[in-house]
Every structure is written in C-alpha cells, then in structure tokens.
C-alpha cells in the first residue's frame, strides 16, 4: 500500500510537471489530478488541493507592492460515509517586494479551517472545529480564484470575524418549490482557538438562511450575536445581514449589506453591489459600488471599482481593477490592483 501510494504521488508530480497543471491527469476510476479539483485518491477517500495568488498593487500615497499573497493547501478525507475531515492550511504574505526591498516579515502560517463533518441525517450535517463564519455570500467563497476582484469588499471583512471555532449545524431542506440552505452555529474562539490573528470572536452564535428561488437566484439572511476578542470592552454586538446573488449565462449580480449595532458603541452600516458581464473569449467586465459607515471612527466611505477579469481556463484567473472613492484613504486607498490566482 505504501509503495503504491509513493508511486501515485510520483505520478502526480510528473503529471503536474508535464502538463503545467493544465490538463486532466485522471484514470477511469476517478483517481488522479485535475486542475481545480485537486489530486484524488478514491480508495483512501483523500483529496489534496489548494490555491495560490500573487498580487501587484499601486495605491495612492503608498509604494508599489508585489506580494506572494496566498498559498493554501486543502486536505479533505472522507473517513466513512458519515464522517468527513477537512483542513485548509495557509501561508500568507510569504514574500513582499516593495520598492527595492524584499522581505518576509509579514509572512504568517495559519490554520484557516480545520473541522469534522458528521452527517447526522439527510438534511442535517454537524460541523465541529474552525470554519468560515457563515455570513453573507463572499466570506464563505473568499478564495482569490473564486472571486472577481483582487480587493475584498469592506462589508465582508470589517463588521465581523472571518472565522469561527465551535459547532455548526447545516443542511438543505425543500420548502415549497425551492431549496432552503440553513446554518446555525455557536463559537467559543476564546477557549478553542489557540492562535488568534486579525479580528476574532470571543464568543458568538448566529445563523443564516439562504433561499434559492430558482436555479439562478438566491437571497440570504444572516444574524450573529457576538463579542470580539479585543482589549477594550465593546460589549455585545448584533449583526444583521442580507445578501442577493443572481447568476445566469455568465452574467452575475451580487449584493450584500450588513447592519451592526451594540449596546456600548455606535452603529456600523456597510454594503456592496457588484455586477459582472462577459465580454467574450474568457474576458469579463466587473463593476462594484461600496458604502461603509462606521460612526465611531470615520465619515462615510464611498468606493467604486472598475475592473477586468480574464479566465483562460477554469480555475485560473487574472484580474486588474482601478479603485477610487471618497474618504477612503485610510481604509481602502485609490489605485490599481492586479492579481493572478489559480485553484490547483
């Protein structure tokens, strides 16, 4: 068995080298490598994959920066029909070239996700571990090869922590003539997450409902009650979210808005509306408007993004966008952002 696995790993590497990862290297049993679907070992229930992204940004009043932004590895293991393990290990900002200097000071390794899924029944799956916070549309598919812009909308990263650690129950149930995805979760990052980076929940609970009104259209509602892991006591936050997604014939319209309030601090309101249209031959035009209002720290921010994305093959995307706005210097400065990302 060990020898056979070594041979498979060797074949995987040879396959990647020979094809540049661009073609299918799969045998008829389903084993093998496919770009965007990882390396699959069906007999063991294992899948290895990941994504990588490189960014080059020229922003107002900042030095131009080339950044090896993300290198993520996924490991998925179907232990038995009712139990599945998944982890995403990420190496962020591995190398940054700024002006004439090359540094690795900002690099960090993190366990982005680590969980076990127990399939309890047909419409109910219990997830235990560290997972992406189920709020809105973007946060759960935020990987660079899956989104249309290099920059991330403020509404998807400012109001809440991107990860939660605890338990989640989720599934899909039929309601009348459409599907309803539901999620309820409870977080106790304070006790369960040993390495806290960025904004982290102290504890939280909440849920999300996403109605699929047709094969192309969904509307989602999210709610979280949470405390943040910060030195000052901001008290309990409540966040209400609404999101919309329409996708048909390569056209896409997506919007998310959140309203955050607490018993001790002021309100925060944020939204984005993004449209994508195909231009042919793998090119897409992308436009986005963002609004961000945090009473506590700054006046209202308005952002506009006009961009172009090129997808020569599924899983590979090249993006270029210009960001502009009002009162956005501190939080999302104007300028050009470009990136190349691959789901491997």
């Amino acid at each position: 068995m060990i020898k056979s696995n070594h041979i498979k790993c060797l074949l995987f590497i040879i396959c990647l080298i020979n094809t540049g990862g661009s073609t299918v290297c799969a045998d008829t049993s389903g084993n093998g490598y496919r770009l965007g679907h990882g390396y699959r070992l069906d007999q063991l229930g294992l899948v290895f994959g990941g994504y990588a992204s490189i960014e080059y940004n020229t922003l107002k009043n900042r030095r131009s920066k080339l950044n090896f932004d993300d290198a993520s590895l996924f490991v998925s293991w179907k232990i038995n029909p009712w139990l599945q393990f998944f982890t995403e290990l990420e190496f962020e900002d591995a190398v940054t070239v700024e002006g004439n200097s090359i540094d690795t000071d900002d690099s960090n390794f993190s366990v982005e996700r680590l969980y076990l899924d127990f399939i309890v029944s047909e419409p109910a799956i219990l997830r235990l571990g560290k997972f992406l916070t189920p709020v809105g549309y973007w946060n759960e598919i935020h990987a660079a090869p899956l989104v249309w812009t290099t920059s991330r909308p403020l509404v998807t990263e400012q109001p809440f922590a991107k990860h939660a650690t605890g338990a989640m129950l989720y599934g899909t149930v039929p309601v009348a003539d459409f599907d309803l995805d539901y999620v309820v979760f409870a977080d106790d990052s304070d006790d369960l997450d040993p390495k806290k980076v960025d904004m982290v929940f102290k504890n939280a609970f909440g849920g999300r409902l996403r109605f699929f009104f047709s094969d192309y259209t969904s509307v989602g509602f999210s709610y979280i009650n949470f405390r943040l892991d910060q030195s000052q006591d901001d008290g309990d936050f409540n966040l209400l979210g609404l999101d919309f997604n329409f996708r048909h014939n390569q056209f896409e319209l997506t919007s998310e808005l959140t309203y955050r309030f607490s018993d001790k601090t002021s309100e925060q309101k944020a939204l984005y509306l993004q449209a994508v249209a195909p231009l042919g031959k793998g090119f897409f035009a992308v436009g986005r408007y963002e609004y961000f209002d945090d009473d506590r720290s700054r006046p209202d921010v308005h952002l506009g993004i006009a961009g172009l994305a090129y997808r020569p093959i599924p899983g590979l995307i090249l993006k270029a966008e210009y960001r502009f706005g009002q009162r956005n210097e501190d939080i999302a400065p104007s300028g050009f952002l470009t990136s190349i990302s691959v789901l491997f």
């Binding site: 679907h37 899948v47 998925s76 029909p81 799956i125 899909t172 599907d179 996708r247 390569q250 789901l343």
Partner: protein
C-alpha cells in the same frame, strides 16, 4: 371521442418512453422514486446520504456527452460548463463533483454494483439490473434518439 383519446395516448407511450432519459438506481435499492428537486440536490451534493442512511454516489457521463448536456439542462437549467463555477466553490469546501463514467454500459454496471449510486441512461437501454426513479423527456428529435438507441 374519449376512447380515441385514450388510444392515441397509449400509442404515443412507446415513442415517449424511447425518447426519455431514465434516472436509475440499483434494482436492489429501497428507493422507489425521486422528485426532480431531490435528484438535483443529490447531484449538487447538497444531500449526501439517502433516507435509508446509504451515502449517495451520483454518477455523470462526461461533460461533452449529449446525455450529460440534456441531463444538466433539465436538472439545473445550465450546461455542465456553466456549472464550473459552482463546482469550483464546492471544491473550496472539500466537496467533489459526481464521479464520471465513459458510457451507458459503464453507467449501468457502476450503478447496479454500487450501493447508494445513482445515474442516468436512455430508457431504451434499461435492463433489470437497475430501476427507474425519475424520468426525463428528451428534446432531441426522434431520429437522433433512435440512432442513439441502436448503440450503447
């Protein structure tokens, strides 16, 4: 008049049946029938075990196969190529698309021999190894379906 209508319906049945795609499970499966929505949930991997606790193994023809194109358009109102973004997002969550087999005979063999598996073949290629849980009427013209029925 009613008798004529009934006779016409009876006469049209074999043509309808030949011009249809049968969603199949193993003949030993306890599943009797599935709605379109249910089949779609299984193929999108949103439902991962069936009501009897067996894990679903949905099985597809290759993306460019005409049966796959028909199945995808009927089930999701999208072509397999249009579904690529959906599967990329699912892959990000550790969920893989359905297994692919190369021919209808391979589909029949795999579905009949794998508990929990589900697939589809032309109705004219059905045999007693499998049973039909959902039927899809095809849009292709009768001539092309007849020519497909003559091969497997």
């Amino acid at each position: 008049m009613r008798v004529i209508a009934v006779l016409l319906l009876c006469n049209s049945y074999p043509a309808w049946s030949e011009g249809s795609l049968a969603v199949i499970v193993s003949s030993s499966s306890r599943i009797q029938s599935l709605s379109k929505k249910h089949v779609a949930r299984v193929y999108r991997r949103k439902t991962r075990i069936n009501r009897y606790g067996k894990d679903w193994t949905p099985t597809n023809m290759p993306p460019d196969h005409w049966l796959r194109q028909q199945f995808s358009r009927y089930m999701f109102r999208q072509t397999p190529e249009d579904m690529q973004d959906f599967w990329n997002a699912q892959y990000f969550h550790g969920i893989l698309p359905p297994r692919v087999v190369d021919s209808e005979e391979a589909m029949l063999r795999f579905v009949s021999g794998t508990p929990g598996s589900i697939g589809y073949v032309l109705s004219c290629h059905l045999d007693d190894r499998v049973k039909v849980v959902h039927t899809i009427r095809l849009n292709s013209n009768t001539g092309s379906i007849a020519s497909q029925c003559s091969k497997r």
